[in-house]
Each structure stands twice: as C-alpha cells, then as structure tokens.
C-alpha cells in the first residue's frame, strides 16, 4: 500500500460536471430509468452501442477497432483482433492471468447506478407519508432532511414526537409534504412512489459530498474510462461492456442477468468502499481512507477475490503508478456486484475496485476526485495494456 500522490491535473472540471449531472439524476433502486438516460447521454459519444436490458440495466459497449498498422504503440499482443468466438468454442477463461495472454477478451465493467430511496407505503388521513427504506439509509441522518420524488415534489422527513435517538427507525418517521390532508397528498404522490434525498452536491475543492455518490461516483469513473478508451481508439483490443446495473444498492441483483447475457471473460465491479470518517473511529474493521487511492477488495460479506484477479489488479495499479488500498471486511459487511457477476453461467473471474467514501449512507457521502482519477488510471491501464 502506498500513499504517494497521483500525478493528475489539479483541476478536472469535466469530471466534476459529470459527477454533478449524475448526482442530480433520479434513480432509486428499481426506478433507474432516468439515471440510465443521463448516463447513456454521457457515455454515448465514447462507445459503439448503448442499450437497456429487460430489467433496465444499461449496457454500453465498445468494440475493438480493426487493426491499424500505422498505430500499434502500446500493444503487447498482435494476434488477430476482435472476432468473438462462439461460446461453445470458447476456451475456459484463463484464471491464472485474467488478462488472457493470447487474444482479445470480453471485459465487463459494472457499476450499480441506483441510489437508496424512500418507498411510500401508506398515506395517513393527515396526509403524511409512511415509507420503507430502499437500500441502506442511516436513520440517524434522516430527520429534518428534504426528500424529493421524480416529479420534483418535495417533503421533509419528520420524526414522531417523543422518540429517543436510540429508537430511531423508519416506522417512526414520516415524509411531510406540507399538505393539509390526504387528498392533497394524493394529488402529489401515491403509494408506491419513490422519494430520494434532495440531490445537492457540495463542492469542497478536491473532494465532493452529496447523496448517492455511492455509486454515482463509480458510474462517473466508468464514463471517464470510456472517454480514455475513445481517446486512443486503437489501443484497446478487448470488447468492453460498461454495465450500469439496477438494484445493486440493495444486493447484487441487476448484475446477474447482465453478466448472464454478456458472458464476459473478466468482470470488474466499480463501487464505493466505506472509509474512515476523519477523527471518528470509522467503518468497523476497515482502515480505508479517503484520498489514498482506489480500493482493491479482497473480501466482503459474499465475496472473496480470486487470487489471480487480485494480482491482476495490483499489477495494473503498479504499472499505472496508482496507489491503492487493500480491503478485507468483516463477516456480513457490504457487498458488491462482483459477487453477482462471479456466479453467472459457468463462472466469471470477478474483481471489485472501490472508491473510498466517507459518511456512506448519509445525505453527504464524500469522495475524493483524486481517488476517482486514480481508479480511472488503474482500470484504463488494465484495458489499454
């Protein structure tokens, strides 16, 4: 583990713009269509095809370019490009080297695009909304927060009187739309509607904070990776599928059918890792810190990195000159799309690269732009080598 700073531009306004657009996009788990449209618009110029699958996963694909004898710089292998063999003829992936030493591969980069939300389950006669949490929201950070639905209807999270802090629970909080009664509430929302934390991004210089940066920051990183590939059109001999998955904030769900359909040779999940929150004791069992580079996850609740994948990521980080942090989480802690991708069909070597984030599950999740750039360096380095 290294703490050396990455060599990156001091300012990257484009990255901040991408993040701002992504944080604003509505997309709680199960209702990701708007977010998918925003991402499709951002990544579209850098890929050959974007499509949505039956569950709403957004799949953006960049195919390798035909060989151009005039520009072979940076390639280590010169075998015939591109043509995908039929699945039946394909050799089993080479787990000893996820890079596949002798030919182009299909590589899937997955980032879940959904954010936590609040599902309206009932409307009281006073017009207050009962709700259930969608994904992980820290209840201690909710009272008094402003939430909004897809149409922009806003409300405030109100707490029942006489609730002790230790008894905080979703059932003791309501969404208060500021209406006079149930009828007025029904004009603005309905049972089954999804609210999200008001999307505001705090620009703290190199660091930013806002709701849903888990995992919109990961989505932004994938958009940047696509841009890097497009900037060197002949340099990647792999077919790269950028997959923005649904319901991944709850569990590795959308990624499973997406992986089934794509049959990749290697899958990398790009997601957020809980970082220590400054002076506080921080995430249990984790020593991940913001600003010290991306995370290579070794173990979480449902996943253990296969050694070859871990070594591939470590090697790629070293080659890209990127500092990284290894992460071993205690039993039951966290999950990523890697665990879902890994078990698709006959199995897929899968890794997880994380962006350290402080204050996860709160309205002000904080990530470092330096970490985002370093993660992009790592992943694009792996694809371009």
């Amino acid at each position: 583990m290294s703490a050396k700073p990455t060599a990156t531009p001091a300012q990257d306004p484009a990255l901040k713009d991408v993040l701002a657009a992504l944080v604003r996009a509505y997309g709680p788990s199960g209702r990701e269509a708007d977010a998918a449209a925003v991402i499709a618009g951002l990544i579209g110029p850098y890929v050959d095809e974007t499509r949505a699958d039956a569950l709403g996963n957004l799949i953006a694909t960049r195919s390798p370019r035909p060989p151009d004898p005039g520009d072979r710089e940076g390639l280590v292998d010169r075998k015939a490009p591109a043509d995908r063999k039929a699945p039946a003829d394909r050799k089993a992936p080479e787990p000893t080297d996820g890079r596949g030493p002798d030919g182009p591969q299909r590589i899937m980069l997955a980032a879940h695009m959904d954010t936590p939300g609040l599902l309206v389950t009932d409307i009281t006669k006073e017009g207050l909304l009962r709700w259930s949490p969608v994904g992980t929201l820290r209840v201690t950070h909710l009272p008094g927060r402003v939430v909004t639905n897809r149409q922009g209807v806003s409300g405030v999270i109100g707490l029942q009187d006489d609730v002790e802090p230790k008894d905080l629970a979703p059932g003791k909080m309501v969404i208060d739309l500021g209406v006079a009664g149930a009828e007025e509430a029904r004009a603005r929302t309905a049972i089954g509607d999804f609210f999200v934390l008001r999307p505001e991004l705090a620009d703290l210089g190199d660091r930013i904070a806002g709701p849903g940066l888990d995992n919109r920051a990961g989505c932004a990183a994938l958009v940047e990776v696509a841009r890097r590939l497009a900037a060197r059109p002949d340099a990647c001999r792999h077919t790269v599928h950028f997959v923005f998955t649904v319901q991944g904030a709850i569990a590795p769900r959308g990624v499973r059918p997406a992986t089934f359909g794509l049959e990749p040779d290697l899958a990398l999940a790009v997601d957020v890792s809980a970082a220590r929150s400054g002076a506080a004791s921080g995430a249990k069992g984790s020593d991940i810190q913001i600003g010290r580079g991306p995370v290579v996850r070794i173990k979480d609740a449902t996943y253990v990195a296969p050694a070859p994948v871990r070594e591939l990521l470590e090697r790629s980080a070293a080659e890209a000159g990127v500092p990284f942090q290894l992460e071993v989480l205690p039993p039951g802690a966290d999950h990523s799309d890697a665990a879902g991708a890994e078990l698709a069909r006959a199995g897929v070597p899968a890794g997880m690269v994380g962006l350290p984030a402080r204050h996860r599950g709160t309205p002000a999740e904080m990530v470092s732009l330096d970490d985002v750039r370093a993660l992009v360096d790592l992943v694009s380095g792996l694809l371009l080598s």
Binding site: G30, T121, Q247, R253, R256, P257, F260
Partner: protein, 374 residues
C-alpha cells in the same frame, strides 16, 4: 389462536375498501372453494411436494397442451403456443415441521421447515410421515408449569411430538428421521366468503393458477404455469423453472400477510382481508418491475377490480428468484391476503382469490391483445 368466526363481522367496513365488486358468481366461488379445499388438505413440505403435484396434475392434465415434472419436482404446464411467453408461478410447498430426532419414551424431536412462529405450535394436532400418523405437539401440563414458563413460547427444538409410541424403536419405525410433520387442520368454509385451512400459503396461488390454466385461451401467448417446489426453503424451485421456461414476463401468485386484527393498526396491517389482491411494491428480494406493476394497477382501476398494495416490504416470494433468471425477467407478485399465515389454520376471502384470478386474466388478455408489451 384462531379467533372466533363471529369476530369477522366487526371488520365489515374494511372489506369495503376499494369498493369491492363481487367478482364471480356463487357457483364459481363454490368451484374455487372446492379446489382450494383439496389443495389445502393435501400435504407437501419443501422437498416432498408429490401429493400436491399429483393432485394438480390430475386436475390440469385435460386442460393444458403440455404438462411435465422437471428434475427437481416443479410441475410445468403449457397452454397455447403464441409468441409471448408468460410464466405464472405458484409454489406447492407449505411450512411445517420435520422429525429431527427422538427423545425418551417414544417422543419425537422436530425442527421447522420454513418460517414458523413457535407460539402457535404447542398442543396442536399433527400428522406425521407419509402415512399421516396422527400425533400431538406435546406440552407439559399446566399444573406442572410455573407462570414464567407459561408466558414464553417454547422453542421448536424443545418441543416434542407424541404419536403414542412407547419406545424409541417404535417411534423411529412409525416416523423415520426426516418424516414430515403437518398440521392436521381440515379445510372449512366459515361463511359464504371466508375459508379456513392450513397451507393457504400458497395453495391459494395454486388454485388461482389452476383456474387460469383451465379457463380462457390467449392465442398470442405461450402461457406457462409453474407450480414450484421449495419456495419456503429459499425460492429454490422457481429459480430453475424460470431458467427453463425463459419467459418474457412473470407473475408470482401468492398468499400474503394480513394483520387487520385487533391490536394492529394501519399501516402495520400489511393488507386487509376482502379488499382485493395485494400488489407487491418491494420485498426483501425484489423491487417489482415498474411497468408490470403499473399495468396491473391500471387494469384493476379500469375494470373495477378491487386491489391493494402490500404495505410490508420484507420477506420474499418466487418473483425474487424469477426476475434474475437468465438475462432478466420483468416480474411482480400479486397475492391474496391471508390471516394467520404460516400458522396451523389461516383464513382467506374467496372474493380476494376470485379478484386475483380476474386481475391476472386481465393482464394476460392485455398481453395477448398487444396492448401491453415489454
């Protein structure tokens, strides 16, 4: 404890939620009740659903184009051969107990199969094993217990089932290890609308699905009925059934929690008996597909079919396994409210089940006519 039947009258106002129009005529309700009676009285723990499957096979064989049992015991039916593949799912298994050992004096130790509240067990009549040996879940007599013991539920591992055997050998011969233990509740119709029985989760779904497979034709559809195994053991059967059938869209037909009883106030009631089928928004395994869900709501509104939303967002049903099959399947769950679900005797309203059938029929019809595509 099952409440006195007379108490149901107090909930009359709740039954009118959603402007309940009586779906189906009395003879149709009688047919439905008759089928549900057979299904409820049949027994099938996860892993041994044979009795239920044989019954469904017999009922459905004359009405479907294809019927077969898959390698893990799902009963898969097909009706029609249209271009749109629709999977309707209902699980055949029920919660119960399993013989897990023997205690002194010929008593049986048991473990739960599926989620069971131990408070409902002690003192119940049960049927043990393939031969349905009658027995009782034993309890120390009230004279020998102190108040503290009577105030708490005995954990399942400490319960003993008594089948009248006098020795361990006799018990093991009559009820070998792994024998299923079923509630002995017999199905009854408590009123013109309300029925009582065991295993209504999910024999209600099985009855509804059987009705749909024997009723209308949908020329544009390949309608698959999947009666699945091992839902209560973790949505297992549906996972492979969905892989096998590769549907374009799927609905799980279910029975769901209903706590509209004294002591529970909205919104904690989850659903209301008699207020129509409950559409799932989200549970512990799925956020249901937006367009499928919205279509069900629109059809119910348009045709005056009563419906409600399930105001509970935990637990899971087969749609949570189906929607992740292959490259993904738009899916939703619709369920009849069921009081005392997972207990020895549950209650359901035939009107809810009839409305469930009607709503799914409307959905299939709208797919068939191309009014709704995915």
């Amino acid at each position: 404890m099952v409440r006195d039947v007379g108490d149901l009258g107090d909930l009359g106002d709740l039954r009118d939620i959603g402007g309940l129009a009586v779906p189906g005529d009395p003879p149709a309700l009688d047919d439905l009740a008759a089928l549900l009676e057979e299904l409820s009285n049949a027994c099938g723990l996860p892993g041994d659903e044979r009795e239920v499957r044989d019954l469904l096979h017999r009922v459905l064989e004359p009405h479907v184009d294809e019927i077969r049992t898959d390698p893990i015991g799902n009963l898969l039916c097909r009706r029609g051969g249209g271009p749109v593949r629709v999977m309707l799912d209902a699980h055949m298994d029920e919660v119960g107990l399993m013989v897990a050992g023997y205690a002194d004096g010929g008593l049986l130790r048991v473990r739960e199969c599926g989620a069971i509240d131990p408070r409902v067990l002690a003192g119940r009549s049960v049927l043990v094993g393939r031969d349905r040996v009658p027995g009782v879940i034993g309890l120390r007599p009230v004279h020998f217990t102190d108040p503290a013991e009577r105030d708490r539920a005995t954990p399942v591992k400490d319960l003993l089932v008594d089948i009248g055997a006098r020795t361990g050998e006799e018990a093991a011969a009559a009820a070998p290890l792994g024998s299923p233990v079923y509630f002995s509740t017999r199905f009854e119709r408590l009123s013109d609308r309300v029925v009582k029985g065991k295993a209504l989760d999910d024999r209600i779904g099985c009855a509804a699905l059987a009705r749909l497979l024997t009723a209308a034709d949908y020329p544009g559809l390949t309608l698959y009925g999947a009666f699945t195994v091992q839902e209560e053991a973790g949505l297992r059967g549906a996972q492979v059934a969905a892989y096998n059938l590769d549907p374009h869209v799927a609905l799980a037909l279910e029975a769901t929690s209903c706590a509209d009883v004294p002591g529970v106030t909205p919104p904690d009631t989850a659903t209301h008996l008699g207020a129509g089928p409950a559409i799932t928004l989200m549970d512990g395994t799925i956020v249901t597909h937006q367009r499928v869900r919205d279509r069900l709501v629109a059809l119910a509104e348009e045709h005056g079919v009563p419906y409600q939303f399930r105001r509970l967002t935990t637990a899971g049903t087969d749609s949570g396994a189906i929607f992740l099959a292959r490259t993904g399947v738009p899916a939703c769950t619709v369920a009849a409210p069921c009081r005392y679900i997972h207990g020895p005797a549950a209650l359901a309203d035939l009107h809810d089940i009839a409305a469930l059938v009607r709503l799914v029929d409307l959905f299939l019809d709208s797919l068939d006519r191309g009014e709704f595509s995915l």
